[in-house]
Symmetry: C2
DNA sequence: TAGATTGTTAATCGATTAACAATC
DNA sequence: TAGATTGTTAATCGATTAACAATC
């Protein structure tokens, strides 16, 4: 609907959907922006403003259909399609993410695994063989949509160098290096950043 | 220095420190806000503005001392002290975080582990025994500063119910439930939210 | 119909950027 | 000293909130 939508709005969509799914699971069928706002601790105005970037999903005098809105948000984010996912780095974090996806995200398909450690190469995780860098670079050309990176900087950078020209459209990056690759959206997670922000708040209470 | 500092500023501090540490490791001794801004892809103005909330760390005509500024940021965030850390949920994600901390963060001390699964209770991780809920609630009273939560909602909520009255000052929360506990700062990570935002961007390129 | 609540415009607020005097 | 770059104030920009007419 709108042509430009700010990152702040996009980042709130998953949270809206998360709450709506929970409400739906609790059997709630309709909700007003006011109610949802008080549950989520945001203003009703912001919810309506955010949603109306994408269309009018509510009904005056009624509110929003919980299940319907949840589904609309999934369509908007593209959670109603399938993604081929490759994972670079199959240590504990990589495996934690793989098992999280397997248990919680119906929209993905594990399409390739990479880890350069000798004792990892050749093993299977969730039915997919772990490949070394060289071999994985070939797999990467065969229709992977999203690359999840948890490997150490050196390996991550080497793999990233071969991304251009593949069909990879997004990187979910847990590593230290921040990538910039043309035509590829990168989301940097940097777990420790949020821990450090927490430390700040602990030392500066108010 | 300033009394109120916005969350946006706080969230940028770890990233500044991360880049400064890297530069310091590369042997860079001084840097101007202009140079740092171009490396980090932010404006020089923002860097100076952000830092001056906490004090004047630079020198006109010279710039900032890389090592010095890095250390100042660590002091501001409180990374120069020690935190007793408890981990609720010792599955793959919990273990990934524990080993990340052990290898990267000198400022923490593992002070308690909780997991309610029979095959986990009693085992040791990094020299600390895993306790069940009931036992961990006692440990929680003995000076834990930060609680890291990766456990399923039910267990997380039960443990969280007993936080008030302990010395816990912060929660680094990877679970689905968003906690609000008086006097405790909670940082909700919600990994999947950032993956879902990535999905959005993949489906709406520009 | 009357009441409720949306979609949307207008007002406010806060954060970012620009500018420049201070000063190393 | 002259040049560079900070610290800080002022201007701009964008995001959030408030208000209200539209409408279910």
């Amino acid at each position: 609907m709108d042509s430009y939508i700010s990152d702040a709005v996009i980042r709130r969509l998953p949270r809206y959907r998360r709450y709506l799914k929970k409400l739906s699971g609790q059997g709630v069928q309709r909700i007003s922006s006011k109610e949802l706002g008080s549950i989520m601790d945001v203003t009703a105005s912001q919810i309506r403003q955010d949603l109306n970037h994408f269309g009018g999903f509510g009904q005056q005098g009624y509110g929003y259909g919980v299940e319907d809105l949840s589904q609309k948000l999934e369509e908007i984010m593209g959670l109603d399609r399938t993604y081929n996912i490759g994972v670079v780095g199959c240590g504990r974090l990589g495996q934690a993410i793989i098992s999280y996806l397997a248990n919680n995200e119906p929209f993905y398909k594990l399409a390739g695994l990479c880890d350069n450690r000798a004792d990892m190469v050749g093993t299977e995780i969730n039915g997919v063989k772990v490949e070394d860098k060289a071999s994985f670079k070939e797999t990467m050309k065969k229709g992977i949509d999203i690359l999840i990176i948890t490997a150490p900087a050196r390996i991550a950078e080497e793999v990233a160098a071969d991304i251009e020209g593949t069909e990879i459209k997004g990187i979910w990056n847990f590593g230290m290096t921040e990538f910039h690759i043309k035509g590829v959206k990168v989301i940097n997670v940097h777990l420790s950043d949020s821990l450090h922000a927490l430390c700040y708040y602990i030392n500066h209470p108010d």
